[in-house]
Symmetry: C2
Subunit: 231 residues, 2 copies
């Protein structure tokens, strides 16, 4: 899985870059396929603030033509362990169902903003590091969500009105976490700069206990390499 090669050196992709492991691999894939990279990071006032610093480093490392960090304070709405200090970030579990770290409509909000920026700069390609296999049960990481969003984007925009479709690239959607780690290593991604941990109290070192840490560790273990962020 990857992005198709760019049709020209002018073709641009607006990519959501959170600073997490997955988003680094997406950014690397965008550049490797020959696109101009417009990196978009949403500062949703997430409790794990260190992610934003990782995003800055990543955007620079991957040669983003522009990097916008847009504050959108989702703590005003609450409803998630990632945005509401009254809800604890849980330790990893094998419980089925959608976990409390689900942020209501997060990827819808993120892709809407990416869509607005893309249309404003004349881009028709968006990229997001969602993953439907090793994901944590989030509904907005699945192919049917992405397809529904693409259809909606056609109806929503001036570009769509003119018959010009938006493509949402999800190059990681069917990969396992190990497959994502391997794809990143193949592209020379330095995972030492990425941050995955959800725990707001983790300082300098990931907690190792939350869902996100758990998935990441499993990915590196399966590939058989050490996680440079833990060294």
């Amino acid at each position: 899985m990857s992005l198709p090669k760019a049709n020209s050196k002018d073709q641009a992709v607006v990519a959501l870059v959170s600073g997490g492991l997955d988003s680094l691999v997406v950014a690397a894939m965008v550049k490797a396929a020959g696109y101009r990279l417009f990196a978009l990071t949403i500062d949703y006032n997430q409790r794990h603030r260190v992610e934003l610093e990782a995003a800055k480093t990543a955007a620079k490392a991957f040669g983003a033509e522009r990097h916008v960090i847009l504050p959108v304070d989702l703590t005003q709405f609450g409803g998630s362990a990632l945005t509401d200090a009254a809800i604890d970030v849980p330790q990893a579990s094998d419980n089925a169902g959608i976990p409390i770290t689900y942020v209501p409509a997060r990827n819808t909000i993120f892709l809407s903003l990416a869509l607005g920026w893309a249309e404003a700069v004349g881009a028709r390609d968006l990229a997001i590091g969602v993953n439907a296999l090793d994901y944590s049960g989030y509904p907005d990481c699945r192919p049917d969500f992405i397809q529904a969003f693409e259809k909606m984007a056609m109806a929503a925009t001036k570009a769509g009105n003119d018959g010009d479709a938006f493509r949402i690239h999800t190059p990681l959607i069917e990969l396992s976490k190990a497959g994502i780690v391997q794809a990143g290593l193949d592209l020379g991604v330095d995972f030492g700069i990425s941050w995955s941990c959800y725990d707001p109290t983790a300082e300098g070192k990931p907690c190792g206990r939350c869902d996100s840490c758990h998935l990441r560790a499993k990915g590196f273990a399966e590939v058989g390499v050490a996680d440079p962020a833990l060294v």
Copy 2:
């Protein structure tokens, strides 16, 4: 056209309240139909800042249970006369096509945020004052956009995943501007507090020349009453 009556006194609607004439009528309809009103105003750093003061007054006047004014700086993206100081707000014209006051993906972004808040507080009803008849040619004001968004919201959310649909109420979508003014007057809306003008240089008094002023004047003229905002 209006909203269906609330099923219970606990049923809540997240309504987008910009401070413009249309959004006031929507807020009045939400209250008249017996819903709890959660008013959401997006401060997208629009050049016509006075709109935000009108939104505050309106949310209070209509008894909003909560009013969130959320900064989302769309000037970072540009691409519209409403968000980019380098583009002049045009005078009203009869030109066909989508005007330069179109803000890329604006209603997609606004509804996404409303969706996030709704899901977080357990609401399944959203309301927005889009209008497909007297509208200015914006694609994201049409029924097919709204329907596509509702479908996408089902795929995007935990609630949708559990089989619970979101309804997007668009009570003004088929009304003329005169019909909207009349509906507001029937509900006792004080249009003196609303602001419609797009011109960022208008101070205290609408410019009377932009598309939005033009449509508003036509609406009041057809109803045969004076616009209280001009008195």
